[in-house]
Symmetry: D3
Subunit: 292 residues, 6 copies
């Protein structure tokens, strides 16, 4: 079997979310904003039946993610609204660029505006930060990935935004992959028993990852052939040694101390994946506005 | 790396479901049965405040799964109920055996009885059929696994019942593993392109499986190193050849024509996993009753 | 009042379910299957915007039920999908027959396929088994009916499938009819007091049924004029005697030991209704596939 | 069969609702009142941890219904609250009477007060009006019953309140009994065909009622043996004639023009049931307060 | 700042509710009525595919509110239904007037009829009673307002109906305004401390109201500049004195003993707002029917 | 009326959220993380029934908010868990400080850990940033406030965190206050008409705010006596002039260009409130960990 080792470094493919998964989040956000009485300002100050045209525009440059949220928010209040995408999810927008043009009932559009912008700005912020990391490691074999440090309720959307930014996704939750950490190792009495228990319990389509803090722990883990080993807070030197020891038999994930300043050096050690919670928990919102 | 190849054949470990995931299913089932007016027979014919003791008993021998459902159904109507397990999930019950003893408000117990039995009987039925398959292939390296042909709304419970029966779980849904079938291959223009697209799109904790119908397709797939290859409706001879060609570099899953009569011969070809939709879509209910 | 006695044996009328009741079940099943990330295989391997035509076809002969589920599953992911029924719910399909033709977005269709087939196959299985029972008693005055031993979450759909099979429905839940069993009789201190309490509590549109195990119990019950008496596990001889004693003043329902082999003899005793939990808890899935 | 004809006029039995059905209504009402920020007055003005004792007291005399709602509303905000019933559901309270004593966290109690009173006052209002009707026809063989003209979302609670008032319940919804009205008759081409279709479609535990406007229509209906005939807006004379013609072979329900002034005369015609939408759609709230 | 004092007495503006807020209430009501089996009468007696035209007509004169509920109820069962409004929400209908014409699938229309009428009749009842109060005080500077004594689950709709009747809305819940009552005052140790705590806790967009029972309490409250003072059960003389003492520095709300007979005299004292729970908890249903 | 003008600058009062509002958010987050299969790592590697003690500790100094979320997350999986708060919401924690000690079932604690930390870290981040702003303007009469630029689904929690940080809350949604912006003014034909329409439509407990861009617009607005005027992107000089012109007759809110560097100078202009979306949309997570 001579195929090239690395399963992750090929072409980028943006896998979208179906409306069926996005719409409930959007509608919950609208319900949260409309409260019991609805938009009393629009009801008082905007005549019924007036139509309005507007543009979603980026105030700062960034990678776009979440236009479906904006479209669905407006459609929820005006099913006849028109929404035309100009710069799509996964694409870069320069400052001032129009992302989408919309034409809708004026009350509906004004009522949906904040929800649309809250989601679009947040997801584009995640995509923009991810894109910065992805760009920083371009040319290396490593990929940038997220964690479970996502906003409660928005995990699927934020994971999607990471993909829009050129990153790949870590596990989606506690149930779709095994990730053994120090407490689990302690509970099992060691790395070997923990991996054995995990393999006995896991189905054949579940990957097993183990987090290690030292090269010695890596050596302990390798004979049990986990799918992925997370090297937590390793020095660059230790990361390089880990790559040598693992001999491409397992995927190696570096975590800890990952910043835009450090990420390229980490990538150049030869690790396969670099994970950062900051992609989702600390990405600044991308400033996007709705211009009438 | 000298560790034994097979990741699945070790000790059986029964991973349970937290009440938090089971309780909503149970409460929805109670709501469906209680309707708008509640149990009008118990309300009319059973005085308030009477306590009642009873036993869940197997009318036929089988592998038990779902006692938590019974416990939670009764607790939903009487939080003070006592429920003592005698034969636990994952254990075998002979005909007539008492699975659990319960003491509760009589109205609550009679109202919860049917929901408790519907879930317990169904899940024990799945576990019992799985156990029969697991026993049939005992001593081989193969494991029995389920599919996505589960009862809508009960997937997590039925997957759990498969584990209680000694099987392992296939993917839980469309989102936690990639399984490439003929339509996907056709849409991509071939097995190679399909696997390349899948690898480019998948995160590093997602396994990739591809379904093939012939040895030639297997040969096409192997260079792209999928995690699992499903051999669909292969003859026993072709299964043996597939095992040889795959050289233990990928997991092999046999599917199609799997019955209690054929499963051992399939297992003896050396495949790793054998999947059957019948485990969940055709398991007869295990006859369990509640005896006052 | 000379009108013919039997209220049930007239023409068969298939009362459908409104989409409003079916759609939530279908969407919950889709949500269960799509999980958090959606169909990652279709997203990776099927280009956006491709249309696809396919046919739902029966692999085995059977009575069809549940085409609305298939239609709504596809429509939930592609509101523009076309779905044309060829063999309708309540009709018989020979092996290989096309039940419906569909044209839809390829990703949507492939993502909805398993949910559509899981529901269609299960409900058609219930209808097919019911039809076999109904055919076995054709020409007698008896009707076949289901029980509350249904799949949690699917009761309304399975009761509908029983109607598609030519059966009639027993009560839908604990709240729409009174059914007095042994525990209720014990709690009330006898059959007479139980029926008196039931009559005092029930509204004028609620029927009252009582389960009896012996002819002596039947004699006890008749003076209190229940609407229906369930004769549980009666011998054929006792069923005949019960029919004579009841003098067509109450409906008689036979239950227990009902199989395709025994049902005709039971029907020929003159009972009005024959109930079987197997219709819903043990019907094998009808094998239906989606052919591209 | 010599048992006394009338199935409804025996002892009154109050069938309660399980908490499982009441609690979701109460919690939805609390959520509606608490909004997003909760009770900002209590949070600002009542110190944390203070306990408070209070009494639910009737300001006017009436029949009580809905104390479970009050109890559950308080418990939802303070699970440690104590709630002691002094005058139970279905009992009469004089003006000023204490219905229940409560001791709870002060913030919780003040926050739950309005929801508790809104439900308790409304349901007691329904019970009180029903009791007035029931008292007006005491000594006759007739019973008072409600309709489907209930408050959306509160049907089960209001039907329960009718029982607390001494009434019986009409059907709970469109699905638990057949009620054929003029539009249905027109669609079927007559009373006979309508009843035949209904009988063919209905399960054996479903009652069939038909609404008629004239004695001639009654004559048309009787040969088809419906379970109940609703005599809509009949004169007292026609009601008496209807009772004679029906010969106690069907239940007769009088509807239309039913007031506290007219109801006794209607009852004395010999009809079995008298229905009034006013019980639920026009019952004035019973004035109940919470006294610290 | 010379702008006219009264902020409330200008032109009436009817602020509507978006469908997004109304539709869930309507669908919940339909689900409650359809139960598990749907409308079995329509299914049995009305052929599939038949269309039907009908008119919503007022049997008594009144102020209309809730036509959106009727429209959405029918649309939920037949998305192709046509619904044409003849007399809109907020307008007065004479007896016999047609409010709306509808054309829809006959089964859908008959199944939705009761839910449509229950909501339309109830909300029009609230609007009609409110309009009577509003008319009684016409020409004064006072406005009529509702309370939180609304039907659980229907608060937003009933508050809307109050606006249709020409009233204004009190706070929507416990969270959107502070209303300090006797228990809060007691907990804080007096009116002054209570208002100080409220001001310290409240955001700058939250109004603060305090309920007082005497002129002395009013004097205590005024120096702390609440936004509104509720004068509970004041005599007409005391109301007049309160107006003088408040010197238009706070809004004054009269409550207690408000009836159609007393309301004009109360208004003429010069108070700004008059509140009555009866608007929502005791409004008789407006009799509206659906005529085929 | 001699009471001091400023209604907002008094003592800080932290109004908490009831568990009833927090628990659904926590449970939804757990459901999102547990997926269909639950925590498969803990199930595989941690024996059932083991107890575990741990501490929530701040890795960096900050203002704490959200301990209820952590407590409820653990309680949802282990109702017997003990959770003892050491540093409460609204208090400052130095780096390394223990916020709470917990003792619980080990599986439950490890499964709930990430959800607990995601919420606690995010809310404490909001509180910490708010506290920095509040400290920067200490000694002035101004207060810091948030906007509607909150995380979809978490608005109530983030608004609470702002209060924990010493800020006050802006409106909670579109329904609890009127905020007139440029589009509304344009739709009404000017500031005067917009404010007139708003006053006509608003209830007496709803505040009205209008956003102005220039001193001229402020002059236009003042005669109509809005409750609050938002001065958007005013220079410091113009803010000072605005304060003079408004003569303390309305509250003034400064918005735009608010940073930790600029906020004190803005506050010293004499405005009442300073709003910043950054409090909720750009607060970095406070790093908090769970130490075994």
């Amino acid at each position: 079997m001579t195929q090239p080792h690395h399963p992750l470094a090929n072409a980028r493919l943006l896998t979208p979310l179906p409306d069926l998964l996005v719409d409930p989040v959007v509608r919950a956000a609208l319900a949260e904003d409309l409260g019991r009485a609805g938009d009393i300002t629009a009801a008082a100050c905007v005549p019924a039946g007036v139509r309005m045209a507007a543009r979603f525009a980026a105030r700062h440059p960034g990678r776009i993610a979440g236009l479906d949220c904006a479209r669905l928010a407006i459609a929820a209040l005006d099913p006849t609204a028109r929404f035309e995408v100009k710069i799509a999810d996964g694409e870069d927008a320069p400052a001032g660029a129009v992302l989408a043009e919309v034409e809708a009932d004026a009350r509906a559009l004004l009522s949906a505006e904040r929800v649309a912008l809250n989601l679009l700005g947040r997801l584009s912020g995640v995509a923009t930060l991810t894109a910065a990391f992805a760009q920083a490691i371009e040319g290396t074999a490593a990929r940038i990935t997220c964690t479970r440090k996502t906003t409660p309720g928005l995990r699927a959307l934020e994971k999607y935004a990471v993909r829009c930014g050129g990153g790949i996704n870590h596990r989606y939750g506690l149930d779709d992959a095994i990730l053994i950490k120090d407490n689990h190792i302690a509970a099992c009495g060691g790395i070997g028993p923990a991996l054995q228990r995990a393999k006995a319990a896991a189905g054949h389509l579940v990957k097993i990852e183990i987090e290690v803090d030292t090269l010695a722990q890596l050596d302990e883990a390798l004979p049990f052939a986990p799918d992925v080993v997370m090297l937590d807070n390793f020095s660059l030197d230790d990361l390089r040694l880990a790559v040598i020891r693992a001999k491409r038999q397992v995927l190696l994930e570096a975590s800890g101390g990952v910043t835009l300043e450090t990420v390229r050096a980490i990538a150049e050690t030869g690790v396969d994946v670099i994970s950062s919670g900051a992609l989702t928990h600390s990405a600044p919102v991308l400033d996007i506005g709705l211009d009438a």
